[in-house]
């Protein structure tokens, strides 16, 4: 239990996927312009990351490793993620139309979100158990949401600033991201020392 909590906290704060591992930067820069879209996108990401972790772990453990097909991992995982995203979208459209309207346009984009493939590969690399893998997936998703929502607030402030011409648009956004990421470095060591 302690271990799981440590994984969760470190995935959300200490090793934040976007701000310290640089996974999922494209949607981070792209969708953080408005609070609504930031929430929608990260909601979809949490959902898919948890599911993808749960789906890829058994396949790696019971299929690829016994058959010595480890090197096919990347291809298999990306196909699983693509299929999963499609499946989730179809099911959601049928049974949860309200949620589908809210998350709909973000779902297809998740296939190419490197954070999702990244978390499944990291789960295998870190040799997590099934529960740890799922917790890590959900934690990474929540971390993505924290980063996105915080940064949407920062960008709103940026809009009213007088920015030098060359820095307008993405450059100043990246510099602001650098500051947000700097503040997240303050969480370093939090997870290890939490239970002392």
């Amino acid at each position: 239990m302690k271990e799981i909590f440590t994984i969760l906290v470190s995935a959300i704060l200490v090793d934040n996927f976007v701000l310290s591992k640089f996974l999922g930067c494209c949607p981070f820069l792209g969708v953080s312009k408005k609070m609504d879209s930031a929430l929608g996108m990260s909601g979809a990401v949490i959902f898919v990351m948890g599911l993808a972790s749960a789906a890829t772990w058994p396949i790696q453990t019971y299929l690829l490793t016994p058959l010595k097909l480890d090197y096919m991992g990347t291809i298999v995982f990306i196909l699983i993620i693509a299929a999963l995203v499609q499946l989730v979208e179809t099911i959601m459209k049928k049974y949860l139309p309200a949620l589908h309207r809210a998350l709909g346009i973000y779902l297809p984009l998740i296939t190419t979100n490197c954070a999702v493939l990244g978390v499944t590969l990291l789960n295998i690399e870190s040799q997590y158990t099934f529960i740890q893998a799922v917790v890590n997936g959900i934690g990474a998703g929540i971390g993505f949401m924290v980063a996105l929502v915080l940064f949407a607030g920062v960008r709103r402030k940026l809009e009213s600033c007088d920015i030098p011409k060359s820095f307008q648009g993405l450059p100043i956004t990246l510099v602001a991201a650098s500051l947000v990421s700097l503040s997240f470095m303050g969480f370093a060591g939090l997870a290890e020392n939490m239970f002392k």
Binding site: L19, S20, K21, F22, L23, G24, C25, C26, P27, F28, L29, G30, V31, K33, K34, S37, M41, Y71, M72, G73, T74, I75, I78, L79, A82, I105, Y106, L109, T111, T112, N113, C114, L117, G118, L121, L122, E125, P164, K165, S166, F167, Q168, G169, L170, P171, I172, T173, L174, V175, A177, S178, L179, S181, L182, F184, M185
Partner: protein, 245 residues
């Protein structure tokens, strides 16, 4: 798009439509692996090889892949080549493999490669596509190399493993960490904007290119916001300039 010589497909990716600084694709590996100049080159060249191969195969198969399933088909082709490159690097350059770590398999979801497949290779013949792949790949590599050099020289006082200033000046370690990556990338992009502003005589991107450029700038994620039908005002200054002409 205007009629272009074959050579222009090649130079397009290097300057006018540089994938990282102009189209803003593939930001994740750009930020993550550029702590050492060697890693920048390794990542850039791996992505280039994958890009050339996938562009070639996709443009050859472009008439056979049904439109509805094209994205999964492209991803499968790309993932195949990524696995080949990954095994090759594991076998011959184990140092680079451990330095790039998870970002080597993540070339699969690098938006540059899928972006070029969708925007270019699916509409052009094999020769043009290969040239485009070479140009885009080299443009990516050059930017990675420059950025990694800046971060390595200031962040650890070395360059390509050669000690430069590390003994005389204490290196600013922060540049090797995550915040430094965002910061240097932001500054480089501002520099690119400034340089293209000064060359106003030549429009940075042809008007037809703008459409592609915008789709590219929108990157893997901004399509979502495109649905809001709100053109980002400040994100793409070069686009507005192109239209002024």
């Amino acid at each position: 798009m205007k009629k272009q010589g074959k050579l222009q497909y090649l130079t397009n990716g290097l300057l006018k439509e540089n994938p990282v600084l102009r189209l803003v694709l593939g930001t994740c590996p750009t930020l993550a692996v550029t702590t050492l100049a060697v890693n920048g080159i390794g990542m850039g060249l791996s992505a280039t090889v994958v890009l050339i191969c996938s562009n070639l195969v996709i443009s050859l198969l472009r008439n056979f892949i049904p439109k509805q399933v094209r994205i999964p088909a492209y991803i499968t082709i790309i993932a195949g080549f990524v696995t080949i490159v990954q095994l090759f690097i594991k076998a011959f350059f184990p140092d680079i493999d451990s330095a790039l770590g998870i970002f080597l398999p993540l070339i699969v979801v690098n938006c540059i490669i899928l972006g070029r497949a969708e925007m270019f290779a699916s509409k052009h013949g094999p020769i043009e596509s290969v040239l485009d792949g070479v140009g885009m790949g080299l443009g990516f590599t050059v930017v990675l190399f420059i950025m990694a050099s800046i971060r390595e020289i200031i962040g650890s006082g070395t360059w390509m493993g050669i000690v430069l200033t590390a003994d005389a000046i204490t290196p600013m370690g922060i540049l090797k960490m995550a915040p430094g990556g965002f910061f240097v990338f932001g500054c480089l992009m501002a520099l690119a904007n400034w340089l293209s502003d000064r060359k106003r005589g030549k429009p940075a991107v042809s008007t037809a290119g703008c459409a592609g450029g915008c789709a590219g700038c929108a990157g893997c994620a901004q399509h979502a916001e495109g649905a809001d039908a709100e053109a980002p005002q400040n994100d793409h200054p070069h686009v507005e300039k192109g239209e002024d002409k």
